[in-house]
């Protein structure tokens, strides 16, 4: 890799041609959000073909779905990532995987997704089409159906490219009960693989910070891995996907919600060299960098080996590892053992991650 080569561009837009015969509109215009013929055309000619097999036949205002046996899981997230396309993925995959993962983290089998777009006028149809295709592919891969949707268009300057909201409905199998309140001293904290990868991939193409890296986003749907883990019968107390705020935010949330302490051993953290190096360059903490295809699980000590073995057998958990444990001391606080044997309190990140000045 030549360090002088800035990234971006590496994405291939060649293969795609806009399916909408919109003579005057290679870009989205306000009318596409007006609820009239142009809106309908956008759904029929762009979203439905983009989604492919993952779409229900009609993406209506509301979907009627067959009865579901068991407890429901319900989740929502909006996706506003910039740039929309980044190494290893796009806002489209994130929008599917992120919501699928939030469902998976409560132990649910994801079934249905809604997709709602807020598009800035001027967004190239071609980009919107690629996003729709990415959504369709990710949904197909995750085995969820796209059953209802919405599109709004906002003024140039009132939005920026494409924002996507997905909401998801899933079913929680009988007996599955995941909650921070079930955490007990002695439990082990497992992370399913390398951390910080998604955040570094996105940062590498963020304006003003660009750097060359081979890192690609880890965006993936984790419900398969979760199902395997639950099938072990091991006592998994709680799971979380450490997205915004990273592992640090997740562990702080768990400590605070459970009233237990967490001790983390930094020497055990799976931080890839690229992530460590990028964070070193920018003065960031890999523990605070976002992940999109990883989970943190708290598991009863006696079941840890079993769970870990199962995780490692799954392609998305191949590098799973224990990174710490739950303690009775310092409830609500996460403490990290540092590389050279010191300790520090690992606080909840505050707001934005800011590259350090010096």
């Amino acid at each position: 890799m030549s360090a002088g080569t800035q990234p971006s561009g590496g994405l291939d837009f060649e293969g795609w041609t806009c399916p909408l015969p919109l003579r005057h509109t290679p870009n989205v215009v306000m009318g596409h959000g007006g609820g009239g013929a142009m809106s309908a055309e956008l759904v029929e000619s762009l979203f439905v073909p983009g989604y492919g097999e993952a779409a229900a036949t009609e993406l209506g205002d509301a979907a009627v779905l067959p009865p579901v046996e068991g407890r429901l899981a319900f989740s929502t997230d909006s996706y506003v990532v910039k740039p929309m396309f980044f190494p290893g993925g796009s806002i489209g995959d994130l929008a599917v995987n992120g919501t699928v993962n939030d469902l998976a983290m409560v132990g649910a089998r994801p079934l249905y997704l809604s997709t709602a777009y807020i598009v800035a006028e001027g967004t190239p149809m071609e980009q919107l089409g690629r996003v729709a295709e990415a959504v369709g592919r990710a949904a197909l891969a995750a085995g969820v159906r796209l059953v209802t949707g919405d599109t709004k268009v906002v003024d140039h300057g009132s939005g920026d490219g494409v924002y996507i909201n997905t909401a998801g409905v899933g079913v929680v199998p009988e007996g599955v009960e995941l909650a921070a309140s079930r955490m007990r001293p002695g439990d082990r904290v497992i992370v399913s693989g390398a951390i910080g990868v998604h955040g570094v991939a996105v940062m590498s193409c963020r304006e003003g910070l660009e750097f060359g890296t081979t890192v690609e986003s880890d965006s993936a749907a984790l419900h398969g891995l979760v199902a395997d883990v639950l099938a072990t019968g091991g006592d998994v107390r709680v799971m979380r996907d450490p997205t915004r705020g990273g592992v640090s935010a997740t562990l702080n949330e768990l400590a605070s919600a459970s009233g237990t302490g967490v001790v983390l051993d930094e020497r055990l953290l799976p931080v890839p060299a690229e992530v460590r190096d990028a964070c070193g360059l920018l003065g960031l903490d890999p523990l605070q960098v976002a992940n999109e295809g990883k989970l943190v699980a708290v598991v009863a000590a006696e079941d840890t080996d079993r769970v870990l073995k199962t995780m490692c057998a799954h392609p998305l958990g191949a590098e799973a590892t224990v990174i710490g444990e739950v303690v009775a001391d310092h409830p609500g606080v996460v403490v990290a053992r540092t590389g050279i044997g010191g300790t520090r309190v690992m606080d909840m990140p505050i707001g934005e991650q800011l590259p350090r000045i010096c």
């Binding site: 750097f211 890296t213 081979t214 003065g283």
Partner: protein, 95 residues
């Protein structure tokens, strides 16, 4: 001051009249201004701060320093018997 990191120069070139370099920081590549170290050659290490190479990293010296530390380590190992090492590790874990 901090956040100056060592990287290896992989390419040297001119850009609008200034000497620039591609620098490889392990997993990360970055474009860096070489104006303050114009004699650096490809393969050498530099200390980079906010986009500027501010100093050459003297590999010889780095190796010497590490070698000194290692000698201290050996010295320490010799001083402490294995029991003491275990005790020390336990103490550490209990902090």
């Amino acid at each position: 001051m901090c956040l100056a990191v060592p990287g290896r120069v992989t390419e040297v070139y001119e850009e609008s009249g200034t000497t620039m370099a591609s620098v490889d920081f392990g997993g990360v590549g970055k474009k860096v201004c070489l104006a303050y170290l114009p004699d650096i050659e490809v393969g050498e290490y530099v200390i980079v701060h906010v986009g500027f190479a501010i100093q050459r990293l003297d590999e010889e010296s780095a190796k010497e320093t590490l070698a000194t530390f290692e000698r201290m380590g050996i010295l320490t190992e010799e001083l402490a018997g294995p029991e003491e090492q275990v005790a020390r590790a336990a103490q550490e874990a209990g902090r």
